[in-house]
């Protein structure tokens, strides 16, 4: 029995058992449904083995929405627990697990795939390419992320969730103070997903640098592509740090090394240091694609070209460099002295300058425009004021002497939620609404969409503004309860109402998807928003090869040129198109990775060795495989194009 004990949950509660049953039933329902409707073959051929960037993008999107739900439920539970003083809804242990998983799920398994979804779907279309540079690697990236996410998510029903915070500072996360396998899940699930992200980074840099349509020089790339390029550069240089860090953490937990322990020379500060060497650039990995989306949306619906294109690009490049120079501001209070703090305080505040440039450029894009407030535009317009509040409080936090008072308090929590929610979540929702017609062939309902946008943004203010005050009043973050005499009660109640409002807003988005799927017109043009860049120049739905003829580009707004200035986008004739073959290997290899991770978490050494060999066998097979892709003939292209044009 000893062997099975390790899989039991250390801190069970009825809620966990209920979710266990719910997960089991859902799994059975999905499997039964697939069998009953005979969809296994379809699933395998069209999705599990696909290397098409558009389908991979859609799979990222679905995973992100799923994880948004998971992270959102965590958030609601936390706010409910804190809504009144001395609440007994959750106990300390349960609360600790929830805020830990909330942080990781939202950042690594929600925001990351959401930006990956949009990058995957949009970037190749926006640069006029047929796919990404390494389509199969792209599939592997997705499946590694997915398996990492699944591995992380089973933690709360098998073996127990991590409970040392999303930052998992040692020695708290070490075996001495965190005995359950929870922190093993943290180390290994994030590691697997992180490898996937790193490969995405390499893939997209190569794609953007090498596969642009003829005529599209670097300075003629649409802004979202620029944002993606810079983001992926940050990914490539930041994620290896995480890889090493997690490996060291894993060794401390499983192999008895002393990197971060309190004995034999271990240094707990080093974990915090490397965590933020990765963690701070990670913030910009999330925010820059969001900036790209806003640039596209604002310029489309102001019906004007983006103001200050060059300074927009320049500011992003500067942000990408500065993002690596500021990490110490996450631990100003660690004692390193006034000089070090001063240096990092200045670099931190310096980031406000390029960010401010972007903000003003968006505002000036509205100038002399013809502003049409659609749902994506509404998100962008609501983003500007809310993000400004988040941004300026960031400058305040950057002042290290004052940071001694903000650090580890709800003020900090308020700041980063006011940055990440308007910055990333609004942008992703804007991008979702904006690109939905291209992805699925119908528009989301505008009326419901706008309601959702208003509810979400107002609820965001309501949920997080009070935290600025409770933080300044001495409420530390991550406290599972507080006494009535502290006076934090009213602030937290308002926060809870805001959080509930956010839930309503997200429910409305889900309803919108349902409603629009049922009732929206399928008869939409390729360019329903009257947009400006190349992704809108191809048909809806987008054919597998994206563009029958590679577009000729003259500016960053190629489609606009074609529409307004009669520029010929697609000169020439059809030629046969080379496309990559589907492959099951990325999926299978990632499944083995899942087994590898699971064995690692529970220290099952024999399965671990077997799965490790399995992974290398997959790589070896790939090395010897002859896969030259296939060609789509001119006849087939003609047929597809005629059908799409007729539709």
């Amino acid at each position: 029995m000893d062997f099975f004990d390790r899989f039991a949950i250390p801190n069970p509660s009825p809620a966990i058992y209920a979710s266990m049953v719910a997960i089991g039933l859902t799994m059975i329902a999905i499997l039964a449904g697939l069998t009953y409707f005979k969809k296994w073959g379809y699933l395998w051929r069209e999705w599990l083995t696909t290397v098409d960037h558009k389908r991979i993008g859609i799979m990222y999107l679905l995973s992100a929405l799923l994880m948004l739900f998971r992270g959102g439920v965590d958030a609601i539970m936390m706010r409910a627990q804190l809504a009144v003083p001395e609440n007994k809804l959750l106990d300390a242990q349960h609360y600790n697990e929830i805020f830990t998983t909330h942080g990781i799920v939202m950042i690594i398994f929600m925001a990351m795939p959401f930006i990956m979804a949009l990058m995957n779907f949009v970037v190749p279309l926006q640069i006029g390419a047929r796919d990404v540079a390494f389509p199969r690697l792209n599939a592997l990236s997705f499946w590694l992320f997915f398996m990492g996410a699944m591995l992380f998510n089973i933690s709360f029903v098998i073996g127990g969730s991590p409970d040392a915070g999303w930052t998992s500072y040692f020695p708290l996360a070490g075996t001495e103070f965190s005995e359950s396998v929870g922190s093993n899940y943290y180390m290994i699930a994030i590691q697997i997903a992180g490898i996937g992200s790193l490969m995405t980074g390499i893939n997209f840099i190569t794609t953007i640098l090498k596969m642009r349509a003829p005529g599209m020089t670097l300075m003629k790339m649409p802004m979202f592509t620029w944002a993606s390029l810079v983001t992926n550069a940050i990914i490539v240089f930041a994620f290896p740090v995480l890889t090493v860090l997690l490996a060291m953490g894993t060794m401390d937990r499983l192999f008895g090394t002393h990197f971060f322990t309190t004995t034999n020379g271990g240094m707990d500060m080093l974990w915090a240091n490397f965590f933020w060497v990765w963690g701070h650039p990670e913030v910009y990995i999330l925010i820059l694609p969001a900036f790209g989306i806003y640039s596209e949306v604002i310029s489309t619906f102001a019906r004007r070209n983006l103001y200050g294109y060059k300074s927009m690009v320049g500011s992003m490049v500067i942000i990408s460099l500065l993002s690596f120079l500021v990490w110490t501001h996450h631990f100003f209070t660690m004692g390193q002295g006034a000089l070090t703090n001063s240096i990092f305080s200045i670099t931190t505040m310096a980031i406000a300058v390029p960010t401010g440039v972007k903000l003003f450029n968006w505002l000036f894009t509205l100038w002399k425009g013809k502003i049409e407030v659609t749902t994506p535009m509404l998100y962008a317009l609501l983003f500007i004021p809310t993000f400004t509040i988040g941004g300026v409080t960031g400058v305040m936090l950057g002042m290290s002497a004052a940071d001694y008072q903000y650090h580890n308090t709800m003020f900090l929590v308020a700041h980063f939620h006011m940055v990440i929610i308007p910055g990333v979540v609004f942008a992703m929702l804007a991008g979702l609404t904006f690109y939905w017609p291209k992805m699925f062939g119908f528009m989301l309902n505008e009326r419901i969409g706008k309601w959702a946008a208003w509810i979400i943004s107002m609820s965001t203010l309501m949920a997080f503004i009070p935290m600025f005050f409770s933080g300044l009043d001495g409420q530390a973050r991550r406290m599972y309860t507080y006494s009535e005499s502290t006076g934090f009660g009213p602030w937290n109640m308002v926060s809870f109402i805001g959080a509930a409002g956010l839930a309503v807003g997200f429910a409305l988005i889900v309803y919108n998807i349902y409603y629009s799927t049922r009732y929206a017109s399928r008869n939409i043009a390729a360019d329903p928003w009257d947009a400006r860049s190349l992704e809108w120049a191809t048909h809806t739905p987008v054919p597998a090869y994206n563009f029958a003829i590679l577009p000729q580009v003259k500016s960053s707004e190629a489609l606009w040129d074609a529409k307004k200035h009669g520029h010929e986008l697609f000169p020439g004739e059809y030629e046969k198109i080379h496309m990559p073959n589907n492959s099951g290997v990325p999926f299978i290899m990632s499944c083995i990775f899942f087994g590898w991770g699971f064995s690692f978490v529970f220290s099952l050494w024999i399965p671990l060795i077997l799965t490790t060999i399995g992974i290398f066998v997959c790589m070896g097979l790939r090395s010897f495989e002859k896969d030259h892709g296939h060609y789509i003939s001119v006849d087939e292209i003609e047929e597809t194009e005629n059908n799409l044009r007729g539709a």
Binding site: L209, K210, F237, M267, N273, V277, L325, G335, Q336, T340
Partner: protein, 94 residues
Amino acid sequence: MRELFPMKQVMGFVFSLLLTIVALAVYFLDMSITIGMTLLLVTAFIQAAVQLVVFMHAGETKDRGAIYTNIYYGIFIALVTVFGTLLCMIWGYL
């Protein structure tokens, strides 16, 4: 046979051996930590540059801009990470 051993690569190899021997001086000779570290830094970075240019052909295609940008960016951030970490973990407390 001769064409299999191009001058450039042979010289590169000889040069890298020389640099190794120079670096070895810090082991065999008695010198201060400052001089020793300077010597090691200089030889190591020249050595890396030799590999990059002579053996790895970093600059031979039209992607050289991207390749060099990538490497310089990487080295810059690597140095920031190494020295920043030392500043925050050790030097800042002295």
